[in-house]
């Protein structure tokens, strides 16, 4: 049986969990004091790739573009999906890239991986940048069919097709579940709600076996890392980093305080009489509805 050839692109992000995150007094993120880790959505992308490895058999390569060593992220990604290959794209010229400049590096990285890819996975967006653009732009540059917000999928190995369910969230209408069939190769940006299920004992046993293997392999993850700079990737220097980025961040400012749109009555939480007033106001606010 031909194994599936899978890639997962991941991102090192600020760790927003308790104990790791640090805020400035004004409520903004203190980046220098906040630790970095594998982004939570990148982790879900790795889990989605693991599903295919257990169910269909697959070779998995993980790639990341990072100015940092990104060791922590690559190790967690390897352990999550039992990756066989780890790629780090690191060059000072990559710094400051917008989404197009980033997608260009990742495209070159994926083309450096062994063989043609069947599926490339990414998270649906980074928790820090939050644009969600790199996945679809990378898909487009690779020429792959893009499937966004995928909540589950299965593959027909004979026909080389995928059937995926996608969640489409729009303002003003209920959420939509779309079931879509597409020939491989495809690019999947995985939805945050994705969870894999193995519905028989053979698959569950296989999953356990791979997890143990992944745990052991991840201890020596450094032996698996292949690092590429711009030249080694064969990337066009004018298409990456700041030079390859159409957009710039022109200005960052505090969100201006809007005009008070309601004139708040200020009450004191330690004053029992004020507490009574609040409860009375709640009652009135809700009874107004009944009168209507």
């Amino acid at each position: 049986m031909t194994l599936l050839n899978l890639a997962v692109v991941v991102k090192l992000e600020p760790d927003l969990s308790a104990g790791s995150i640090s805020y400035n007094p004004d409520g903004t993120l203190n980046r220098s004091k906040t630790k970095n880790t594998l982004g939570p959505h990148s982790k879900i992308a790795a889990q989605a790739a693991f599903y295919a490895k257990v169910k269909y058999g697959a070779k998995i390569s993980v790639g990341t573009m990072s100015g940092h060593a990104a060791n922590n992220a690559l190790q967690i990604a390897m352990e999550t999906c039992d990756a066989d290959v780890l790629h780090l794209y690191n060059d000072s010229i990559f710094a400051g890239a917008d989404t197009i400049g980033t997608a260009e590096v990742l495209k070159n990285g994926i083309n450096k991986m062994d063989g043609k890819m069947d599926i490339v996975f990414s998270g649906y967006r980074a928790t820090d940048g939050e644009t969600g653009q790199v996945g679809p732009q990378l898909a487009w540059k690779l020429g792959f069919t893009f499937l966004g917000n995928v909540i589950s999928y299965d593959i027909d190995l004979e026909k080389r097709t995928i059937i995926a369910k996608r969640l489409i969230t729009l303002r003003g209408v209920p959420e939509i579940i779309q079931e879509i069939e597409a020939p491989l190769p495809v690019f999947i940006a995985i939805d945050p709600s994705y969870k894999y299920h193995f519905n028989n004992i053979t698959l569950r046993l296989a999953a356990e076996k791979y997890k143990t293997e992944a745990h052991e392999r991840a201890k020596n993850y450094k032996e698996y890392i292949q690092t590429f700079n711009c030249e080694e990737l064969g990337a066009d220097k004018t298409l990456v980093g700041l030079i390859g980025s159409p957009t710039i961040v022109y200005d960052v400012q505090r969100v201006p305080k809007g005009k008070a749109i309601r004139n708040a009555k200020v009450l004191d939480g330690s004053n029992p009489d004020h507490i009574r007033q609040v409860v009375t106001a709640m009652k009135e606010a809700l009874s107004a509805m009944v009168i209507k």
Binding site: L16, S17, A18, I21, D26, G27, T28, P40, E130, T131, G132, P136, Q137, W140, F146, G148, I163, L167, T169, L170, R171, G172, E175, Q178, I180, E181, A182, A189, P192, L242, T247, I248, V249, Y250, D251, Q253, V255, P256, K257, K259, A260, I261, R262, A264, K265, V266, L267, D268, G269, S270, P272, V278, V279, T280, A281, M282, K283, A285, L286, M289
Partner: protein, 396 residues
């Protein structure tokens, strides 16, 4: 670059089965306001162009023109009935690059036309992906989740774009977006590379996806005139192998619509997350209220037991531009400071009570009552008083 190379604003319209999504008219409204001003300031005659793709949608152009479009490019084909990113991306790019279409929009510059000047998409489950792939193909810049737009001539000095020299970039679209903390507002620009030492490149269209609810539509005018252009796309046979097998609506994970009261909590739970979430839960039970959260809570900023985190720290409960927009009879914000993106999701509530230690928190400005105090102290007292007054509130 000549005057005719890059012209107009193209707005990608969204609809479901021929029913326009509100964001479509909001984007058109903002495009109209920007271009009325643009044309006056620059003595120009550039157009607001709506692009609409689908099947059985011949009724849409009229509405789009009434809401501000000068031209509507419509592609009405059975292959476009389903939302398939690849096919829609290719058709939109064909429209953007088509000189015949440009000539129908504005005959004067048809020979020079290369690409649109600006392009707007919706920042939602369709537009986010579509804007990314379209701009990857058109090879230009995209800003996401934008909630303010200004067109101006900017004096720019940038190490890469201008080699440090001061250059005036005319007709530049300033695209404002709020960062994930909700406290910083970033201005994104899409600028040509004018640095001769590196590589000179022109980037058009300057593009963004726009948050639903950020802008208001204009009053529809049934007398407005506009051009309707039927576009015949080339659809790649290979792409038709991608098939939508089914598409169905589902109810949201968390129901906000059927509750009179919503209690939202935010970072104020930080001193004892688990305990405080349970306190909010109990408080909400007293009011028969649904529980919502601010965006940071959905990002596992605080640790809690798996049961509590999987129930409450989830994207489905987020109130704000990254989540749901709600308008209950009563909204109670507990330990929420009031970042812009949260306020956009709850300011339409009929009565708003906020509970916060910090009297300078922006949430105060959108509250009817601001109750100063720690949630740990205040909520038990409110519950005791509620019991006292024996209020029984029923679900709508």
């Amino acid at each position: 670059m000549t005057e005719g190379d890059y012209r107009h604003v193209y707005v990608v319209i969204e609809h479901i089965d021929g029913k326009l999504l509100p964001v479509s008219l909001e984007m058109l409204g903002e495009a109209r306001r920007l271009f009325d001003d643009f044309n006056k300031r620059y003595s120009a005659k550039e157009k607001v162009v709506a692009i609409v793709l689908g099947h059985n949608i011949q009724h849409l152009p009229k509405t789009l023109i009434e809401h501000g479009a000068d031209s509507v490019v419509i592609v009405d084909r059975p292959e476009l009935n389903a939302l398939i990113n690849k096919i829609h991306t290719k058709v939109i790019c064909q429209i953007c690059l088509d000189i015949e279409t440009a000539a129908k929009i504005e005959p004067a510059y048809s020979l020079e036309f290369k690409k649109p000047r600006y392009m707007f998409f919706a920042a939602d489950g369709i537009g986010r992906h579509l804007s990314s792939t379209v701009l990857a193909e058109l090879d230009s810049g995209l800003a996401s989740d934008v909630n303010q737009l200004i067109i101006s001539d900017l004096d720019i000095s940038h190490p890469i774009k201008t080699a440090g020299k001061k250059i005036i970039y005319k007709k530049t679209l300033e695209m404002y977006r709020v960062d994930f903390s909700g406290f910083l507002w970033t201005t994104i620009l899409c600028l040509d590379n004018l640095n001769e030492n590196l590589s000179v490149r022109e980037y058009s269209p300057q593009s963004c996806n726009i948050i639903p609810g950020a802008f208001a539509p204009i009053q529809p005018d049934p007398q407005r005139d506009g051009t309707i252009i039927n576009f015949e796309p080339k659809i790649d046979e290979n792409d038709l192998k991608i098939k939508v097998l089914s598409q169905k609506f589902i109810e949201s994970e968390i129901d906000f619509d059927n509750y009179k009261t919503v209690v939202g909590f935010g970072r104020g739970i930080q001193n004892a997350p688990e305990k405080n979430i349970k306190l909010v839960e109990e408080f909400a039970k007293h009011l028969n209220a649904q529980v919502g959260i601010s965006l940071p809570i959905s990002k596992n900023v605080f640790s809690a037991s798996p049961n509590v985190s999987s129930t409450y720290m989830i994207p489905g409960r987020v109130i704000g531009t990254s989540g749901r927009k709600i308008s209950p009879m009563l909204y109670i914000a507990v330990g929420i400071s009031g970042a812009m993106q949260h306020i956009a999701g709850m300011e339409d509530s009929q009565f708003i009570i906020s509970i916060n230690e910090d009297e300078n928190a922006p949430i105060k400005d959108v509250s009817d009552i601001f109750l100063k105090g720690k949630m740990e102290d205040v909520l038990p007292q409110l519950m005791a008083e509620l019991k006292n007054q024996q209020i029984m509130m029923q679900v709508k």
